[in-house]
């Protein structure tokens, strides 16, 4: 599955529009707290929000800082709060999000500069669930076979690109950074329900702790925010049931 993009309407894709952006900015060297700055740029309706940010950085204010790498919804670098919702700036078109944009850094992680946040707590939580295949036995001179049904069991959670849209949309995570967060649980789910994996017990033990799955209060913000369309809350619930019933 590709990254989800809303369907474009009947807007002329080449039409030039005046896009008004209000961006929450913070420069740790001069600012004591974040402030808002306004910009106006000309963009095509088919441009992405990232195009508008590039336009500002390259032609208006070179100090504007944000992360981006592939710019096509695969690397997961450019998650930000666009008009109050976590989105990837590179896959949302001006024709979909409108010409009046309010852009902020994602919440719950320390802001380093402008739209760049410190992702380290997020990655530390990701690493804490042992997000790799644990298979101690020797399969011999062959592959570790898996049926199509077994592969389909965790297909949804293989789509994660670690953009942090889900984790930083979670009200529980904003209030309590100790919670491992939806993204870490999604990536644990990917291995917990993998028939070849042998680390299930260890991962369920980790997620059964105070900072684990039980912090989830089913607000569904993560599911709404995921740019890959992963049913995040459903994955968390499956892990909760796996712990409760002690079976996967």
């Amino acid at each position: 599955m590709t990254t989800t993009i809303a369907k474009t309407g009947s807007v002329d894709a080449m039409e030039l529009l005046t896009v008004h952006l209000r961006i929450k900015r913070y420069n740790p060297e001069v600012d004591t707290k974040p402030h808002w700055e306004e910009f106006e740029v000309q963009q095509k309706a088919s441009d992405t929000v990232l195009n508008a940010l590039h336009n500002i950085k390259w032609t208006v204010d070179g100090t504007l800082s944000f992360r981006r790498s592939c710019a096509h919804g695969v690397c997961g670098s450019d998650a930000m709060v666009i008009n109050g919702e976590n989105k990837l700036s590179c896959v949302n078109l001006i024709s979909d999000v409108g010409t009046d944009l309010v852009i902020e850094p994602i919440r719950g992680l320390p802001v380093i500069k402008d739209l760049i946040v410190d992702m380290e707590p997020f990655f530390a939580q990701y690493r804490s669930v042992i997000p790799y295949l644990i298979a101690e036995d020797d399969p011999g001179y062959k592959e570790r076979y898996q049926s199509q049904e077994d592969r389909a069991r965790y297909d949804d959670t293989t789509k994660c690109i670690l953009c942090a849209c889900c984790t930083t949309s979670c009200p529980v995570y904003w209030a309590n950074g100790e919670y491992v967060g939806p993204a870490a649980i999604v990536n644990a789910h990917r291995f917990i329900f993998d028939s070849r994996d042998q680390g299930t017990e260890r991962r369920l033990d980790i997620l059964n702790q105070k900072s684990g799955v039980w912090r989830c209060r089913t607000s569904f913000n993560c599911t709404e925010a995921c740019p890959r369309g992963i049913k995040v809350t459903q994955a968390i619930e499956e892990v909760k049931r796996a712990i409760l019933y002690d079976r996967v």
């Binding site: 808002w36 306004e38 607000s219 569904f220 913000n221 709404e224 049931r241």
Partner: protein, 124 residues
Amino acid sequence: MSPSSTMYKGKTGQWAFVLHRITGFLVFMFILLHIVDVSTLNSPHIYNSIHKLYGNIFLRLFEVGLLFALLYHALNGLRVVMIDFFPKAIKNEKGVFLFMLSLAGVMTLVGAVYILKPFFTGKV
């Protein structure tokens, strides 16, 4: 000028969660109040004069609000239990939320009639 902090635009699930927290807190506060008024039971005249207070319109309206908080908290709690235990419920969590909210609303209206009627008819 832009606000210094903006609201995260979550959908129904976020508001179900927020309302659950608020109603939970209100019910907890009421239980504290309830413990205080029940603890006066040893001196019947104090107990009775406190309970006369509950007859005025403001406290009756407060009780209607309390009834809604209790109903919403209980019914949304059931919704969360359903999401936790029945994999199918999660596919329709928005519908279940709207159903529970409406049910809490309707039951509150019915309860409001019983709570407010004595004030207007004078038969306390």
